[in-house]
């Protein structure tokens, strides 16, 4: 395979205050390839959103601190880039959309102006050209009567239209990478279907790579090429989307898939995962999933498993796959 466009290596993000120290992202690594969609799946507190904000260095420092790792974009480490240079990349080469469009749009600025702002800033377009581009983008994301709607304020848009406007803004500069953090979680299912369809079409058109952060297993199945499953701040499994669903290699992935009801099949009983996610502020020994794991071995409570590579470029962070590991490359 070609060079990844984005490579996250051993990313570690902590929140430190005088009272506590929480390791939110704990040595996360993955590669994102051009034109592909990588889904980062996990439940609340798994570190999936914090990881995205860490990549773009959008977390408030302090209390947040990125204490290890690198994020390579076209060979350059985003974590070491001077702030001014990073600012040039953000919103231009690297775009992000968030779960709640109302809080990410400026309520006192017309929608068209907000989109035009980024075009003018990054592309040096004239005001008129930027405004025309904004209208074009609004049309592209399926807003009816875009010339008229560009003059609206965000509160005049419905939830689905706001998310479309956010997408228009993210795509304004034709980015290489779009990071989408739960882009459809706040939307109704028929609107979610519209937005996912739109994102797929635009990804094909703009040929961008996408990091899709979600907790929705159905959205993963629909959108992803590759999947990273996160638990307690780390990747517990990495695989292609078909492999994850067909032969999940980590007990957490298996349990997660078992706990989701489906409209296509009726299960008598859901395979709930017992217990609660771990307290990330508490010191831990062994595998963080061990206390809830139905397949835990004796050693799991004491020894933290390393990531084991599996055939086909997969990875599972679990003692159960040890030995199934392919021989080290010569």
């Amino acid at each position: 395979m070609t060079e990844p466009i984005l490579s996250v290596r051993g990313l570690k993000t902590e929140f430190v205050t005088p009272d506590y120290r929480v390791v939110a992202v704990d040595g996360l690594s993955y590669d994102l390839h051009a034109g592909r969609t990588l889904a980062v799946v996990g439940e609340s507190g798994s570190g999936k959103s914090v990881h995205a904000l860490s990549i773009l260095r959008l977390l408030p420092v302090p209390p947040a601190r990125i204490t290890a790792g690198e994020v390579l974009y076209r060979g350059r480490d985003l974590l070491k880039l001077p702030e001014a240079e990073l600012r040039r990349l953000r919103g231009d080469r690297l775009a992000m959309i968030f779960q709640e469009p109302m809080t990410s749009l400026n309520p006192v600025m017309r929608v068209g102006e907000q989109i035009a702002e980024s075009v003018a800033l990054h592309k040096g377009a004239s005001d008129a050209a930027a405004a025309a581009r904004a209208v074009e983008l609004l049309g592209k994301v399926g807003i009816p009567a875009p010339e008229k709607r560009a003059r609206d304020y965000p509160h005049q848009f419905s939830g689905g239209m706001r998310q479309r406007a956010m997408i228009a803004m993210a795509l304004a500069c034709d980015p290489d990478i779009l990071i989408a953090d739960e882009p459809t979680t706040a939307l109704d299912v028929t609107i979610q279907a519209q937005i996912l369809e739109l994102m797929k079409a635009l990804q094909r058109e703009f040929k961008m790579a996408m990091v899709l952060i979600t907790h929705n297993i159905g959205v993963v199945a629909e959108m992803a090429d590759d999947v990273v499953v996160m638990y307690a701040g780390r990747a517990v499994e990495k695989a292609s989307v078909h492999e994850v669903f067909k032969t999940p290699a980590h007990p957490y992935t298996r349990a997660l898939l078992g706990s989701v009801p489906s409209i296509y099949t009726r299960k008598e009983r859901l395979a709930a995962i017992a217990g609660q996610p771990p307290d990330l502020a508490a010191p831990r020994a062994g595998c963080p999933f061990a206390p809830r794991c139905a397949e835990a071995l004796e050693r799991c409570a004491a020894e933290d498993p390393p990531p084991f590579p599996l055939p086909g470029g997969r990875m599972s962070n679990c003692w159960l796959v040890e030995g199934k590991t392919p021989a080290a490359a010569p």
Binding site: I191, V219, P261
Partner: protein
Amino acid sequence: MSEPLLEVRGLVKHFEAPAESFLGPKRRVFAVDGVSLSVYKGDTFGLIGESGCGKTTLGRTILKLEPATAGKVFFEGRDVFALKPAALRQLRRDIQVVFQDPFSSLDPRMTVSDILEEPFAIHGMLPSGTERRRRVAELMDVVGLPKTALERYPHMFSGGQRQRIGIARALALNPKLVVLDEPVSALDVSIQAQVLNLLQDLQKEFSLTYFFIAHDFSVVRHLCNRTAVMYLGRIVESAPTEELFADPQHPYTEALLSAVPAPDPGLEKRRKRILLAGDVPSPLDPPSGCRFHPRCRYALPACRVSDPALAEARPGHSAACPPAPFRSKPSAAALVES
């Protein structure tokens, strides 16, 4: 069939909205607009719809938390809106609610034991402290919380545990009907599965009847034996759950089902999706005729004027749309198909 436990007949709930201008006419939100349904003992009746369709208002109006504009609600054959205070008190014992948000539905200044003892105090039951504490301990056991949790406050619990507290409170007085308003939609999937399993177990153990309000089709399919679909204040389709999923009769149900992503990439690629265009119209100004016609792929000119009533397509399965042969061929006008 026996008499329904809960029967709703032609229920209407309108809210007055502020006028657009000072001298302009008062406007009305048609939140619930002529809903009839029956829930039988032992049922888990699912009410599903998107935001703003009126499902929560319907639940609140049935519970008499909102005064109804018109229509009637019968519980065990008695007219709920005509009940005398004493009988209403009894009703408040027989019907309990679990709300969506376990963060705002528990008083942050009360300990868990205060929260669980309150229903007994309000209804003057189990006056002896020992008795009451024994019952509270029993409730904790039933919902799977440790007794050590009794002296703690709600903020010390996770979302799933708080929802268990809410369920324990609802069960305290041995209700006959429990209204569950989106009880799992604020929870993570692994925790959601725990709570759904708990609800199933409790239903069996205490022969409860559930009125389950939700927007998630997969949860409804998992839990409910009968499902009604709501759109803009009306029920557009009602059927045994398995039948509704296998053979939806209303175009809105069909589109809604097709919009749910399948948790299986193989299935996902083969699945046919009907994308509805646009947003749900405002309940301030619902479309004329059939309320779904502007987004309907089968709409005929007549649908703009005539408002179809809920009619039985086959025994136990009704839809507010003429049966398929009387519809137009699906048009691409109102939707994109992929």
